[in-house]
């Protein structure tokens, strides 16, 4: 049973349409929500995002969406952060200075070091290696490729939060979970059957 009660948070950053298209393709009915007062009505909330961390967290503060998201999280809503959305859930980011995040994960966001000789951003298809079992991974194969675009990566202090990792010069957390909060570094909405599988599993989670 696919949940119909899904909000995509619109805080002025990133391509909402791709996420919306993927959910609709799977039979869900996503609603773009920019008003924090409306957000608390949803049992499933997707926090997308492409862009700079500082600007994004600033938008969440200014709009009051950060307060609303915290309320939703405490009320037990399943919140899925995608790419920058996952990074915003961490304690802090080193992107252009130090910025505090939502602090749902004891984790820091760090830039890939250019001296590893790899091009930055990390862009393209890379393997997602599962570390623990979770309903979000049901029916999917460890080592499948997903589409990544990012210059900063998440490092979790608590290894039990890490669902999957990916290697690019070093190993970073590509999927995290803490209670009802999930984060994915790659773009599931752009990762063909593997990514759509993750979104389907998310939609099928009981509220």
């Amino acid at each position: 049973m696919v949940s119909q009660n899904i909000a995509i948070v619109d805080y002025g950053m990133g391509n909402l349409r791709s996420v919306q298209n993927a959910i609709e393709h799977l039979g869900g009915k996503p609603v773009i929500v920019a008003n924090p007062l409306e957000l608390t009505a949803y049992g499933k909330i997707i926090l997308p995002g492409v862009g700079a961390f500082g600007q994004a967290i600033g938008c969440l503060h200014r709009t009051g969406l950060d307060v609303a998201l915290n309320q939703c999280r405490e009320a037990g809503a399943h919140i899925l952060g995608i790419c920058l959305g996952m990074q915003l859930m961490c304690s802090f980011s080193e992107e252009d200075g130090i910025h505090e995040g939502l602090n749902w994960f004891a984790a820091q966001v760090t830039r890939f070091l250019p001296d590893l000789g790899l091009s930055i951003p990390h862009m393209g298809w890379n393997s997602v290696d599962f570390i623990s079992e979770d309903p979000i991974l049901a029916g999917l194969t460890s080592g499948s490729d997903a589409y990544f675009v990012h210059s900063y990566y998440v490092h979790c202090e608590d290894p039990t939060d890490v669902l999957a990792s990916t290697e690019y010069g070093l190993r970073f957390s590509s999927m995290v979970r803490c209670g009802n909060v999930l984060g994915v570094q790659f773009h599931p909405e752009k990762s063909q059957e593997f990514g759509l599988g993750i979104i389907r599993n998310y939609l099928e989670m009981p509220c």
Partner: protein, 263 residues
């Protein structure tokens, strides 16, 4: 491990997919771009680039509509370009569902536009398309405005300038090699790949799968094909299999195909 990408390019003129030969577009391949895209989506293609090559600026609105229709079915990254001459149209393409924007003539005529787009949407969103063209003495120049205007600059210098302006990726093409079935312009491709650290997509001239391997060996992070994919059944899958068998790490239907031969 990060995989090498296989990219399908759709060349559109007035909303229809056309074949491109030395930047001339006469042969309509698919009536509908959505149909072409659905075919690629089912197969193992890693990314789709869609270019509006119409000579008429009025084609812009129709092209944005095509992007909107295509993006509903597209679950790999979608890159769009052609006639991006202002901020508003760039935003329109992104809102229509494009993930990345291709700029070409703006690199010559409106460098500030490229800077602004990179600042606003991030470098990862900006793909600098550059077209090689040899003059009558065989000297390689950069062609802009749909291949019609030549600029006397070395390809590697042009690529570096594009990256400085904010491009996060280079789409390399050659007017002489386009549709000529002799493979990529490897000489210039190598120079460009060596000059920049951003990923380079090789494009223009693929006729056999071995041309793809040549592009990767020249240093490209991704290899792109247009015409050939339309004429071969299961073509993207065959191309992926050939690349994997040649020792190139590629994604195949969510899994990494282990190379069978040493590189």
């Amino acid at each position: 491990m990060l995989k090498k990408r296989l990219i399908a390019v759709l060349i559109l003129r007035d909303g229809q997919v056309v074949q491109s030969v030395r930047f001339k577009h006469t042969n309509v391949i698919h009536y509908d771009a959505v149909h072409a895209m659905e075919t690629f989506n089912k197969w193992a293609v890693d990314e789709i680039v869609i270019l509006n090559v119409s000579r008429d600026v009025a084609s812009r609105e129709k092209f944005a509509k095509v992007i909107e229709r295509i993006s509903c079915h597209c679950f790999v990254p979608l890159t769009a370009g052609g006639w991006i001459t202002n901020d508003a149209y760039a935003q329109k393409l992104l809102l229509s569902g494009a993930d990345k924007l291709v700029v070409n003539t703006a690199l010559a005529d409106d460098k500030q536009l490229v800077c602004r787009l990179a600042l606003r949407y991030g470098r990862q969103c900006i793909v600098a398309s550059m077209d090689m063209k040899r003059d009558s003495s065989g000297h390689t120049k950069i062609a802009v405005d749909r291949g019609s205007r030549l600029i006397d600059v070395r390809p590697e210098a042009w690529a570096c300038m594009a990256v400085e302006l904010g491009a996060g990726e280079i789409l390399f093409n050659s007017v002489d090699h386009d549709g000529a079935r002799k493979g990529y312009d490897l000489e210039s491709l190598k120079k460009v790949c060596e000059a920049v650290t951003v990923p380079v997509i090789a494009f223009g001239g693929v006729f056999t799968w071995s041309h793809l391997v040549e592009g990767i060996k020249a240093g490209a992070s991704a290899v792109a094909v247009a015409n050939l994919f339309h004429y071969t059944e299961q073509s993207t899958r065959k191309a992926k299999t050939y690349l994997a068998d040649s020792g190139v790490f590629v994604r195949k239907q969510g899994q990494c195909l282990a190379p069978m031969k040493a590189k």
